[in-house]
């Protein structure tokens, strides 16, 4: 009786050993098509994920090199105004072999913007593209194309998610409008910049209000400008603009 029980136990053990794989096999073989489809989907998914990651890394690496080139052009040395005299020792050069040099600042800014356009065409205007656009707008301002600069800053500010960057872009709009000579538009833009600063971290509020006062003064509204300048001193007595505010207040009082 005891031997029979022992045999029964021994016979049961192999069954226990194979039971997991057997049950799994039975279950999978019943759903063979589904399992095969799942395996293929998983393989394709893994392959696609790996490919996408590799593509993204490759694109990011290329974008970094392309952006670096814009910056190198924007920072390139200008050619000396006069050709060095024969026999004169060569000055130390920081010339890059792969970056052209320019006769004037205007040529350099235009070349950098051309490179920025090529960057935007290849990599789009998101991510680093937003930086390329903002930099382009600041160069356009120096080149005197304030209308296009205002348009770029405006479009960047319109869909900006970061409040700190939005302040920079709104200031760009205001400065560009002022450069265009559209003082009413500039005043509106500086006022909305000041409101934005008031709602946010306030660290740039004194600069926004100071610009607002400057435009009001340009418009001949001295009293309103004076009121805002005094408001800055009340709200931010330790402002770094203190000496400029004092000078402007002195001029306004004289008037």
């Amino acid at each position: 009786m005891a031997v029979a029980k022992a045999l029964e136990k021994e016979l049961k053990r192999p069954d226990e050993f194979v039971s997991f794989w057997t049950h799994l096999g039975e279950m999978l073989s019943k759903r063979r098509r589904g399992v095969i489809a799942l395996l293929i989907t998983a393989a394709v998914g893994i392959g696609a994920g790996w490919g996408l990651t590799a593509y993204r890394h490759g694109a990011a690496a290329k974008a970094t090199v392309a952006f670096e080139r814009i910056e190198r052009i924007a920072n390139a040395d200008l050619l000396p105004e006069k050709e060095p005299e024969k026999g004169a020792a060569k000055a130390e050069s920081t010339e890059d072999s792969d970056v052209p040099r320019f006769k004037t600042e205007k040529e350099r800014l235009e070349a950098a913007n051309k490179e920025a356009d090529a960057f935007l065409a290849q990599f789009g205007s998101e991510g680093l593209g937003r930086k390329a656009l903002a930099d382009k707008a600041s160069r356009l301002l120096v080149l005197g194309n304030a209308a296009e600069a205002a348009s770029i800053y405006g479009s960047l500010a319109a869909n900006e998610t970061d409040p700190g960057l939005r302040i920079v872009e709104l200031e760009g709009v205001a400065v560009a409008r002022e450069a265009e000579g559209k003082l009413d538009d500039a005043l509106r833009a500086f006022t909305s910049l000041a409101d934005e600063c008031q709602r946010g971290s306030k660290f740039y509020l004194d600069h926004a209000l100071f610009s607002e006062a400057r435009v009001l003064d340009k418009q001949g509204k001295g009293k309103e400008a004076e009121k805002i300048l005094r408001e800055i001193l009340d709200k931010a007595p330790k402002t770094t603009l203190r000496s400029q505010i004092d000078d402007r207040l002195a001029l306004l009082t004289e008037k």
């Binding site: 799994l24 974008a63 970094t64 670096e68 190198r72």
Partner: protein, 391 residues
């Protein structure tokens, strides 16, 4: 029965197939890691492993300034990078977007690194007019400031009770971190004639503070009093350019120090006895890695050295200019060259993987976020760059 056996068999086959597929997945996961490693190696100079995320202007230079320089390195505090600039202000930048969160004016320009004191929740920034500031990283307000003799190009060493600050005037100060007041100072005479630009940051280990000076001496000072425990000249046979500008460091029971003329030394921390000497002329920087030391030498470039003084590899970089202290991050070593920008090397071999130079070199060292696999570095034109590292 046959049918059942066949069923069981086919079940086993499918089960084993599934097991094999799982195995393939595991192998592919491992091989993905290998492939990643290989893909890193495939990233030959000049592009690949460091990918730019944003940049923001910290200090704008006029076009009339042909060769600007910015040498300040930031300190990471949560999601902010706190750093100074030659523009005479300290700013906090949001590392997610690059937006400036606050900006506070200082009386002088900043040429050195900022350092975050985790214990006291404040950032130390020194200026070229000799003022050390303790900055509240949340608001940018100064908790205290104090003037010391000599320009401050490096953040202080943070000790439990005191800060240990060195200045370019060959002095070391112990400073109370609560109010910035001086507890003691130690000074050595600056030699006549020319010395090498730069100076060493003191290093505290136990009851001693180790410091280097431009007369070629490394000294051990008592933490509490500043009294001299011992001093040792590392000048070798030379009588000029003997400066100890590399910050001494204690590691695995040895004190590592270097002088410009004498090279690299392994010393006994208790009495300054020389244990070994490597003739790495022109050494002006010394950094401790996970398993190696890295020496920055004006003549040899960047050199990886074992703790017993054996040179493991050397990367010349003759056109790079002055190099900053290298920082290990993952499989890489990152540092800046004053003329050629940011360098990424393979840590194990010293192989050059990438140079990132958007604006005429970088004399500021990078701030590395090892967990975030990112770095932040100020270029000589005053623009701060954020880069992600891929591995």
């Amino acid at each position: 029965m046959t049918g059942r056996l066949a069923h069981v068999h086919s079940g086993l086959v499918v089960g084993r197939l599934a097991g094999a597929f799982l195995g393939i997945l595991l192998v592919s996961a491992c091989s993905t890691a290998t492939v990643r490693r290989e893909s890193v190696e495939r990233h030959d100079y000049p592009a690949g492993v460091a990918q730019m995320r944003w940049h923001t202007q910290i200090h704008a230079y006029p076009p009339s300034d042909p060769h600007p320089e910015e040498c300040a390195t930031g300190a990471l505090v949560g999601s902010r990078l706190v750093l100074g600039s030659r523009g005479g202000s300290v700013v906090a930048v949001d590392i997610g977007s690059g937006a400036i969160v606050w900006s506070t004016a200082m009386t002088g320009g900043v040429d050195g690194e900022a350092r975050y004191d985790h214990w006291r929740g404040q950032v130390y920034v020194g200026s070229d007019d000799g003022i050390l500031y303790a900055v509240d990283p949340a608001t940018g307000k100064f908790r205290w400031s104090n003037k010391f003799k000599g320009p401050i190009d490096h953040a202080p060493e943070i000790g439990e009770q005191s800060l240990f600050l060195a200045t370019a005037a060959d002095r070391v100060f112990a400073v109370d971190p609560a109010d910035g007041k001086m507890r003691w100072q130690y000074e050595r005479e600056t030699p006549e004639g020319f010395t090498i630009h730069g100076y060493a940051v003191p290093h505290q280990e136990g009851h001693a503070v180790f410091a280097g000076f431009s007369d070629g001496y490394v000294v051990a000072l008592q933490v509490d009093s500043g009294n001299l425990l011992w001093s040792r000249s590392l000048a070798a046979a030379s009588d000029q350019f003997v400066d100890v500008d590399a910050s001494p460091t204690v590691w695995r029971g040895k004190l590592f120090a270097a002088s410009f003329s004498g090279g690299l030394y392994g010393l006994r921390p208790s009495d300054g006895e020389v244990l070994w000497h490597a003739s790495l002329d022109g050494t002006s920087g010394l950094t401790r890695g996970e398993s190696n030391l890295y020496a920055v030498s004006a003549r040899a470039g960047l050199v990886a050295v074992s703790t017993d003084g054996n040179v493991l590899w050397r990367q010349g970089l003759p056109d790079a200019g002055d190099l900053t202290a290298p920082v290990e991050v993952g499989p890489y070593l990152v540092f800046s060259g004053s003329r050629e920008g940011l360098f990424v090397l393979e840590r194990e071999t010293g192989k050059l993987l990438q140079i990132f130079d958007p604006a005429r070199g970088m004399c500021a060292g990078p701030t590395v976020d090892k967990e975030g696999k990112s770095l932040y570095v100020l270029a000589n034109n005053g623009s701060l760059y954020a880069l992600d590292l891929v591995w």
